[in-house]
Every structure is written in structure tokens, then in C-alpha cells.
Amino acid sequence: MVRFFLERDRVADLVKHLMERRTVYAPHRKGRRSFAFARTADPAAVVLDYPRTLHSVKKFFLPPREELLRFDLTDDTFAAGEPEPSGAAFLGVHSYDVAAVRRLDHNFSAGNAERNYLVRRQGAVFIGVGFEPDKFHFSGSVGIEPDDTAGCDAFLTKLLDGYVLEILTPTGRELLKGLELPPYEGNDPPAHPFQQHIYVPQSRLGRIMDKSYEHPVWAEASRTCVGCGTCNLVCPTCYCFDVQDHVDITATGGSRERTWDGCMLRGFSEVAGGEVFREGLPERQRHRVLRKFKYLSDTTGVPWCVGCGRCTAACPAGISIANIVNRLVGDAERTPVAPI
């Protein structure tokens, strides 16, 4: 492990160095108080100290809208969409978002491997950055600490006057070669505590979820849930999609496009003819939470929620997934936990 000291004033040098070698995607300000990953044009616009971005880096590998093929209606032929390998440097990614990419890698590699995702994912380099948990983060409870470097090629940890830059892989070393930095010989910077937690270890959650199917929490959580789908759409591990054909106004051609979809939306489980298999909001809420903490975890051994807090921060009704889980935990363990 090689550690360097990156002085605060030299962060722009790091960005420039990366920009000379790769396309760089990094967090930028968006709107009044939000952040979003965007292609970096100006090193000064990169923000490394941010709570969370609106979307995770998922959007680069599984775009919100993606053309699967283009068809010609005059002769019934088509051409496949051509996803481009990203090959980019993703700078300033939080540990939970890298962990989420790891889960998406699994989904698009296991079983029927999907070319579109895999092509876009090719050559991506991650330079992580530590974060200070706010009231929504609880990734520590699902085994992802703010300074967790897993999956990163290099990692930045904040100090008072700059960052510790840790080189983690040969790819990282190669990419950062030529960036003249002094070694860092100080102590490990202090870890920031989480404000939000799930109160049992992941190893016990599966059992608790098993017993939670008929729990009143699903109905309680649905009282103010309006089924808008925001929680799904901002989730870094949600990968469900819809596919629709769009016809050009000339009616001679068009495209088959896939779009992010979400299991909280009523139409998600609706079949032709009108039957909705998950009709009520409580059933949908339960499906969402069990997908994160049971179904996919049962087969992969890891929770599918990475504790980023996006669903909770973005929910118009403020419904908290951690509170839902803690309510289940509390009842299963007979410890009183306040109603959500």
C-alpha cells in the first residue's frame, strides 16, 4: 500500500492529471444544494466533500434511458445499439456506491450476462473518497465503512489540510504515475461515526426478514407513501427496467428503448389485461425492502442495500428504510423501537 499526501491546493492538479489521461466523471454541484456526477471540464468545479449525489455512478453503466436497437419500419430491419466502453476515471466515489457497482456487476455477469452493461462498465477506474456520514447514511450497518477502499483503484481520505491518497491497484498506480506527491507518514485520519444505524448485524437480518412478511410495518409505511417510485429510481442497486418502442414522427423508423423502472410503481407488476400482481402499496413496500435485505441477499450472501440513504433523503414523505428495518428488528428482538 502506498500513501501520499495531497495538499488541498493540489486537488486541482490531481483532477488535471486525470483529465489528461482519461475522461473524468466527478461530483459537481447541481441545483441549489445537490450534487451529481458529471463529466469534468473544469478541475475547480469538482466537489470532493459532499454528502451524496442525486444518482450514483450506476447511471454511466446502466443509463436511465438506453437505446437497445434502432429499427427501420420500411423493411423490418434493425441495428443494435452500440454502447461505448466508459474507460473513464470516476473520481470522488463513496464506498457505498462502489459497493453498489459491485452488486450490479454481479447482476449483469451472473446467469445471462448482459453485453450492454458489461461494455459500458469496461475500463472504469474508481478513485474513491471518504465521507462524513449525515443523518441518512447507514452503510456502516451493512458492512460498508466510509473509508472502505474495496473496489477502488485509489482512495482519498480527508485530512484538515488535504487528503491522503492511497494507491490500491496497478491500474491506479499507472494512472497516477507522474503526479509528484510527498509520501504520507501520519496516522490514519479519524473515522467519522454514523448517525443512523440498523440495529442488528446483517447475519441476523435474513432470519428477521423471514418472519416479517405479515408485519404491520408495511401498512404503516404506506400511509404516506404515494407510490411515486422515487426510492427505486435513486437507488444505486435497483436495476429493474422497462422496454418500449418509440416511433419517429416520420413513421419510417424508431428505437427500442429501455428505461429505469421501479417496483413501487403500480404498473410494474401489471400484465396485459389489467391484473396487477402487487396491487397495494404495502405489498410493494414489502417487496422493495425484502429485495434489498432478503431475496438477493439469500442468493449472494450480501445485503442489496448499501446504506447510502438516498431513498430516504429523496422520499417526499420521508419514509426511512432504516426505520422500517429497525422496526422489524425491534419486534423480532422484542426491543421497543419507536413507530416509524
Binding site: F108, N112, L118, F241, L290, Y295
Partner: protein
């Protein structure tokens, strides 16, 4: 199982690109249902199992899954029995022979015919559930040495909605087939059995030690069919069920068809009953 590592895209097949097939024949079955005969380019075989499905698409309209209605023993072409219920099926209803359609598949897990071999085969089909079950029925009829007796229970809302009426007649006349049909409400000239499909089950002559049963029908039917079969003493391990859910991709990616943790397009549509017994969302 652990998290699968990222694999090289070169090792991944195209999942979403259709093969352009051709409609060879269009036959109206009822007011709502049509049977399409489809040929793949170059006379390729679809290579399916009874109970599997394909994704059918018309460019500019969209794509949807449909069960395959023909038996794999009938080669060269395959058949799809399709009910008009939505946009794609509306447009398909206007298609004639020669029309190009996109086909992906076959997808899913069909009927495990090996586990039906040597046994009496009981098919319980309600409404358009007969469409995929017809594939199994004709498979059994085409390989008479492989199976025991064939027992078919078919229920329809009314006699006007009965599908494959010419074939129903053949099955009825076949001495090796015990064919029963019922309608919920018969028209005045209907002389057959009237009542929901489960009313056929008590009267069946079943060899409970040598039976394999497959159920397919509208969502509401499964629980009742199961109760009727169990009360006749049919063992859970001898029951398979073909389920329907919303699907977009057919390859285990889009998430729509999940029932609890199971993907219908991968683990189904035909499930062995003991596998789904514990899935609360299944039946």
C-alpha cells in the same frame, strides 16, 4: 453463492436482439384468440420444451412474452395462441401471413418432461391456459410409448370461448385420452358439463401412485385447482404449475416477473409445486 465477478463483455451474448421470423399462417380461434404459425429464418428449429415462451415483437409497437402452443415434436414451424388484450396483440390481430415479427427465446423453464415419463399425465387448463398446455398435450400424444394415460381437464368461461375446438374433438375421440371439458356458463345449445374447472376433478379416475399433473390458467384458478387436486389425494410432488407474470426481458434482468425471490422467466414459468409452496406471492 457469492457475488459473481465482473466478466468480459466478449463472453456475453446479445440478450435483447430479436431474430426476424415470419408469420406463415393466421387462424382465428375465437372472437379474441388467434393462432399464429411462425417460421424462423432458414427453417431453423425453435428447440423449445413444452411450457416455454418466446418474446414476440413488432417494431414500433413493442414486445411481449407469449407461450408456445405447438409441441416440439411438430417440426419446422411453431405456433403461438394469442389473446387480444393489449396494444401489441391488437396490432398482431391485424397481421397476415408474410408479416415479419421479432422473436427472442425460447425462454424459461418448461415442463420437465423427463419427470412426466412413464406416468399418467393430468393436464388442468383454464381459459388460455390451454395454449401452453396444448404443447404438452400434443407432445404426449406424439410419443405414446413414453407416457401413461393422458387426462385433460379443460375449463372455459363459455362454450363460445373454447379454443382449438377441432382438436378438442380429436382428443375426445382418442381412446387413450380421458378428455373432460366444462364451461362456467353455457349457451342454450351447450349440452356438456357446466361449472368451474375444479368441478371436473372429483370425477376423475386417477392412479395416485403414478401421476404427474400440470396446472395452467388464470391467477384465480390455482388455489382452487390445488385444493381440488389435494383433496383427491394427488401428492404435492406430482404437481407442476405454469405461472404468468409481467415480463420485459425474459432473461432474468428486468425484475418485473419476480415472485418473492424467484424470477418467473428463469425459474418458471413452470414450477414444481414444492418449490413455490413457500412463496407467498406465487398463488
Amino acid at each position: 453463492m457469492k457475488l459473481q465477478d465482473l466478466i468480459n463483455p466478449a463472453a456475453a451474448k446479445e440478450l435483447y436482439l430479436p431474430v426476424m421470423a415470419e408469420i406463415r399462417d393466421v387462424r382465428k380461434l375465437t372472437e379474441l384468440e388467434t393462432l399464429y404459425t411462425v417460421a424462423l429464418p432458414g427453417g431453423a428449429e425453435l428447440g423449445h420444451q413444452p411450457g416455454q415462451f418466446v418474446a414476440v415483437s413488432l417494431f414500433g409497437v413493442g414486445e411481449a412474452p407469449f407461450s408456445i402452443s405447438s409441441s416440439p415434436t411438430r417440426r419446422g414451424v411453431f405456433e403461438l395462441g394469442i389473446r387480444r388484450v393489449g396494444m401489441l396483440t391488437d396490432v398482431l390481430a391485424g397481421c397476415t401471413a408474410g408479416r415479419k415479427i421479432g422473436i427472442r427465446g425460447p425462454f424459461g423453464r418448461g415442463i420437465d418432461v423427463e419427470r412426466f415419463k412413464g406416468k399418467d399425465v393430468l393436464i388442468v387448463a383454464g381459459g388460455i391456459g390451454l395454449v401452453p398446455m396444448r404443447s404438452m398435450i400434443n407432445y404426449v400424444l406424439d410419443r405414446p410409448g413414453d407416457f401413461g394415460r393422458l387426462i385433460i381437464c379443460y375449463g372455459s368461461r363459455s362454450d363460445r370461448e373454447l379454443l382449438f375446438t377441432d382438436e378438442l374433438e380429436k382428443w375426445r375421440r382418442n381412446p387413450n385420452v380421458d378428455f373432460r371439458v366444462t364451461v362456467d356458463r353455457g349457451s342454450p345449445d351447450w349440452t356438456g358439463h357446466t361449472g368451474v374447472i375444479t368441478t371436473l376433478i372429483p370425477g376423475l379416475n386417477l392412479d395416485l401412485d403414478n401421476l404427474a399433473c400440470c396446472v395452467c390458467g388464470p391467477p384465480v384458478m390455482y388455489r382452487f385447482a390445488l385444493l381440488a387436486l389435494r383433496s383427491r389425494g394427488v401428492k404435492e410432488k406430482d404437481i407442476w404449475m405454469s405461472l404468468e407474470r409481467r415480463m420485459k426481458c425474459g432473461v432474468g434482468k428486468c425484475g418485473h416477473c419476480q415472485i418473492n425471490g424467484s424470477y418467473v422467466c428463469q425459474d418458471g414459468p413452470v414450477y414444481h409445486y414444492p418449490e413455490i409452496k413457500a412463496l407467498q406471492e406465487a398463488l
